[in-house]
Point group: C3
Chain length 378, copies 3
């Protein structure tokens, strides 16, 4: 399993002295969504021979799979009379509009209209670049000229047979900025997650090393000689044992956050391993400015075939993430409701989140600047 | 029974060679509603001695019937403190406000206020011109100076004893433009209505003759030597028999579409008639820009007293129209949700609808131009 | 029990000759809410050791009570990451944010943040001036420099042991202007309340004396030698007996209307009192521009310990006020729905309401003029 490389030229920044709360130029819930990025449209298993409608980045699309098994994501609007194509049907690989029967091939080309003797071959609709990396189907909804498959974030652990992955899904009333910040923020663990096994007090006091690597943020933490939190300890059969925890988190793109955790068994007993690995993956796709599709994955390299461990990891993940989902929903309610000018105050431990929010602001501003309507004529 | 006359000077236009999809200047879901027209406020039977509230063209009105039986349609807002008069009561022919008891006669004149010793005779509210042509009550919500009863569209078949009419009603999430276009469009029959008896494949391939007659569109179609579709064949006891179908459809006004169908029995058996007549009437009254009150009527000149035929026609009409209602609701959802610039592409068979949409655009633009706020001072 | 003093210099205005309906410059449902006023945030019993969220004047606040019993009303938004503090918890007198654990004292001062070794002492949130006059807790949401406790309206009868008070609460879809006007308006009684005991016909014909006293309106009415309405007659055991009624109503502030009623027993029987006193108190706190929190109180000086009288007064008050609540909800629906220009017509009996609406307009306009963004730089 590959790990994302650490850029040697990255900015290095250790825990800064505590400074007063500051106001920062950074993305927030109202910043335009970054469009030139690969986002997950759905799980491989969700996209099949049914026509499925979903809203992604505020755009409503149609998803299906060809007879050969390739996922297709198209504009869900017939260019003739606005009928949602997802209410039509499939004829082989073609989408057939349910109103007048216009036929579109997977690339968006109109190839047949029953009432016309010749197909209107000049008619095309948007078909979006798609890359499937099972179990994820990625889509590019921005400028199609920039849709480079090489930019699809790597998540090899999700299909690596050396790992067992459990997963789940939420629909959250939040903007993706707050969700990404939540994951780069270790100081909320002992408060928001006080009641769940993931929030040990030591966690918030561990040192952290934040590196900005281009458009990514890398967060390295180590917590040595402390009891294993249940979410790592129980699957490894190391409950309450003293371990070292090494965590390696990445804001990998507007669509993705993942964290590799390495648990080192400090006093291995007979037959025990010394090291256990986990990767937690969080996939966010903005549905609208204020809602997201959220998929999470917990991958482990131990007790792969144990259904009890699967069940434990699903239950404890859902319990903990539900606390985040609730909190971020309440926050979104506040920022949507309150209309008076308000700027958040930030503190030292917010550095990873701020680094990410500056990246999202920079990317969003560049897209606004490059938008055709903002370009001077040649 | 009279038929609307065909204007001899009307533009004549046979099936044009298929041209590429084109963008046209024509009314769509966002075009202001035409106000200077007679619209159906309700069925005669709906308007009675109860005060009934209804929204028509975005205006909320009050409807009732005088002791003498005349329908009254008034502004549903007391000019004193905004109380909805429909929450008050009738006292003879007068509406009594439920808050302070102001009395209004059917013409909108205030004639009594309990707290005042003299009625405030300068107070009037809007009472709209009404014409009852049973079973329809028509109202004029535009410029009252232009409310000419002679302009009320004729629908004599609805009260002609030579015909039996069944009818029904829908509340549809759509703009009237899309609904009118649906009726002038024969190419959706075999697709949208594939599962119901009205969508025989021959239908979409029959020739059509489109005439624009002032503010009306006349669509003449003939389909010869083909099996009778169930909706005509079963009531006439001609199921699966070969007939000629002559159809004569009219976009008669922003409020009304009707079609006269003549079914010719090509091989009459003993005791059978040679000709059977049907008229299908569609009445649309915009409730708001994006919703309509829709009443439909199916009138036939055969088996007038047969309840089984009534039942069959109601069931098959509702089944087919529900498909249109669903489709137009989905389309309305699309056009309301999508905010990017988008123009529909049109093709040869869309000519009747386009002719109608150009008329609605012309009427709407003339009203905007003539609006008092757009007039220069004398 | 004290009564609010009558200003000798007040404008005096008896029933004017009936003039045609006029349009007036006065506050309506769209006038900005007056912010520089004491409003009731809640009943004393509602504010306790739970964190309670409520929206007042469009601002969402957090309410609780310190260990010493003092009510606290604060901004319900953490300045760090927008978490609603009402979803956190109390630690002694401090509010602890549920996301990162920031601690705030009742005055809004941040005194602890778990992730920081030193508290960010420059961080404060809004804590609003509060005055408790049991059973009411008053709050000042406007300019804090003008929050003078001496301006809290006096309602001594609510805690006077010589009186027994029953009370209730409504959440109403209305603006406070319409609600205040409803109370200053005696002509709606026989119409809107025709079915309840408070609407005797004599009521609307009694003379009234309207005085404007600064920012208050005083309405004096006397109705002599008439049968007692049930709502006064039954509690005093004077049902259907002839009494004099003296009513002394006050628009006391944007937040408060009260009326003192004196019932004089014209033919006292053995053991009967000559005079009975009631005070009806109406407390309005705008939640938003179009909704209010409404608390009502009925205080009497007779049969203090009779639960049957309590029950009767609650039931008949709720029945009558529900009619107002329904009517004002319908009116609010009308004024929110209708977008065409419209001005209410007013008549002689509307004078008390108009006087109040002119005051509210003047106060609102002064606040707009004084708002920092409307001040020229020095």
């Amino acid at each position: 399993m590959s790990q994302a490389p650490q850029a040697p030229q990255a900015t290095h920044d250790t825990q800064a002295p505590q400074t007063p709360g500051k106001r920062q130029a950074m993305a927030d819930h109202a910043t335009p969504l970054v469009r030139n990025a690969w986002y997950v449209a759905g799980m491989s298993g969700e996209i099949n021979r049914d026509l499925k409608q979903r809203t992604l980045l505020g755009k409503t699309v149609l998803m299906y799979r060809t007879l050969a098994g390739d996922p297709v994501i198209m504009q869900d609007r017939c260019p003739h009379r606005n009928f949602p194509l997802s209410k039509g049907r499939l004829d082989g690989d073609r989408v057939v509009c349910g109103y007048h029967g216009m036929n579109f091939t997977p690339d968006g080309q109109c190839v047949f209209m029953p009432a016309l003797t010749r197909a209107p071959s000049h008619v095309r609709i948007a078909s979006y670049p798609v890359v499937e990396r099972s179990p994820l189907v990625w889509v590019w909804l921005g400028d199609p000229d920039r849709a480079d498959p090489a930019l699809v974030p790597e998540t090899p652990w999700l299909s690596d047979p050396a790992y067992k992955t459990v997963n789940g899904r939420f629909h959250v009333r939040t903007n993706y900025v707050a969700m990404h910040e939540n994951l780069l923020d270790q100081t909320h663990f002992p408060i928001l997650h006080a009641g769940t096994g993931i929030g040990t007090p030591e966690y918030s006091r561990s040192t952290m090393d934040v590196r900005v690597d281009g458009d990514r943020v890398h967060l390295v933490r180590a917590l040595l000689d402390a009891p294993a939190p249940d979410i790592y300890g129980i699957p490894a059969r190391l409950k309450d044992r003293i371990v070292d925890r090494h965590s390696d988190g990445w804001f990998a793109s507007p669509a993705l956050h993942y964290a590799h955790a390495r648990i080192v068994n400090k006093a291995p007993r007979a037959g025990e391993r010394i090291e256990y690995r986990y990767t937690i993956t969080h996939v966010y796709t903005p549905e609208t400015q204020g809602t997201i599709h959220y998929w999470w994955f917990n991958s482990r390299d131990t007790y792969l075939d144990d259904p009890e461990t699967d069940r434990f990891l699903v239950e404890s993940s859902v319990k903990a993430y539900q606390e985040d989902v609730d909190a971020l929903g309440w926050i979104q309610e506040v920022v949507e409701r309150e209309t008076e000018p308000f700027e958040e105050l930030s503190f030292g431990p917010d550095r990873p989140g701020i680094a990410m929010r500056k990246i999202l602001l920079r990317l969003a501003e560049a897209e606004t600047r490059d938008a055709p309507e903002n370009q001077a004529a040649a």
